[in-house]
């Protein structure tokens, strides 16, 4: 229980990789605020699982594309748990299509959620984190697309590449306060989000994955746990969790 006494916020914590991150941090002893946008039932289910296992949690609704909602969310966490130590910027969406067919709204919503949402949440927790004077952990979920690009994902890849550049810059700003900022770049992880990809896309990818299989959400969550509970001398890093897909 190495995260005993720590409080974590996981954005997009109700489903997919975020759900697994929330459950994993809770198992390690952290009190976990599970953020969701629309799927209240799924967030409630995650909270139920945390509490049934004897952990502490809280469900917090917010549209992370709106700064004011992120501020309110952080305030709700502080009111409930009295502190915040770990932020996992996980919430993300895809609107895949080639640029020739991409509409402005596809670009805007992906950038607003995946990139600006991270800015909003970091900005909202920064002052409370500084005030506590006990360091902190910010972990941003990027993507292999942010490192290598991906056809049909100019919007998603730009946002996820932006996440990496943001991570490195903020790591430089906050280093002296013992707040580490790192990014994780998952490859192909089996979630609801990737389930919807065409079979042909999935089958084409498989031969390029050195480990010969898709990843599991738990395997990303383990990396988040590693960065959250120790790893005090790692900051500004990008950790690829992709089974060798980026090699």
């Amino acid at each position: 229980m190495t995260l005993q006494g720590k409080v974590a916020l996981v954005t997009g914590g109700s489903r997919g990789i975020g759900r697994e991150i929330a459950l994993t941090l809770a198992r390690a002893g952290a009190a976990v605020a599970v953020n969701y946008h629309n799927n209240k039932a799924a967030a409630g289910e995650v909270l139920g699982k945390i509490e049934n296992a004897g952990g502490k949690g809280l469900v917090v609704q917010a549209d992370i594309t709106v700064f004011g909602e992120c501020e309110k969310m952080v305030k709700a966490i502080l009111d409930h748990f009295g502190r915040i130590d770990i932020l996992v910027n996980n919430a993300g969406i895809r609107r895949d299509t080639i640029l020739a067919l991409m509409q402005e709204k596809d670009w805007d919503i992906v950038i607003d959620t995946n990139l600006k949402g991270m800015f909003n949440c970091c900005k909202a927790i920064l002052r409370p984190l500084l005030k506590q004077k006990s360091g902190g952990r910010i972990i941003n979920i990027s993507s292999i697309a942010g490192l290598m690009g991906n056809s049909g994902q100019t919007n998603y890849a730009a946002a996820k590449g932006g996440v990496i550049a943001f991570t490195k810059s903020l790591a430089k700003e906050l280093g002296k306060r013992a707040i580490t900022v790192n990014a994780i770049a998952p490859g192909f992880i089996e979630t609801e989000m990737t389930e919807s990809l065409p079979e042909t896309v999935k089958n084409d990818l498989l031969p390029h994955i050195s480990l010969g299989r898709y990843g599991k959400p738990q395997e990303v969550a383990e990396a988040v746990l590693f960065l959250a509970q120790g790893a005090g001398y790692i900051t500004g890093s990008v950790l690829s969790i992709d089974g060798g897909l980026s090699l």
């Binding site: 002052r127 500084l130 002296k176 306060r177």
Partner: protein, 76 residues
């Protein structure tokens, strides 16, 4: 207590600097305080004086005098 005295006290505590080195015209550069140090000082002052200083105002702060006169205007 005078605003200047309170500000000097907070800076000296936060940055571990002798209060006697601090004057109205002292810049944050003089005392090796970076912009995040200024933000932290502003946070402490907001609590002390129960006011809010907008991020745009914080960016303008260069000297201890800038902070003192801003606060004096706000609480007047």
């Amino acid at each position: 207590m005078e605003v200047l005295e309170i500000v000097k006290g907070l800076i000296s505590e936060q940055l571990d600097i002798d209060e006697e080195q601090l004057e109205m015209k002292t810049t944050f550069e003089d005392i090796d305080a970076d912009s995040l140090d200024v933000v932290e000082l502003v946070m402490a002052l907001e609590e002390e004086f129960n006011l809010e200083i907008a991020d745009e105002e914080v960016e303008k702060i260069k000297t201890i005098g800038d902070i003192v006169s801003y606060i004096e205007k706000q609480i007047a």
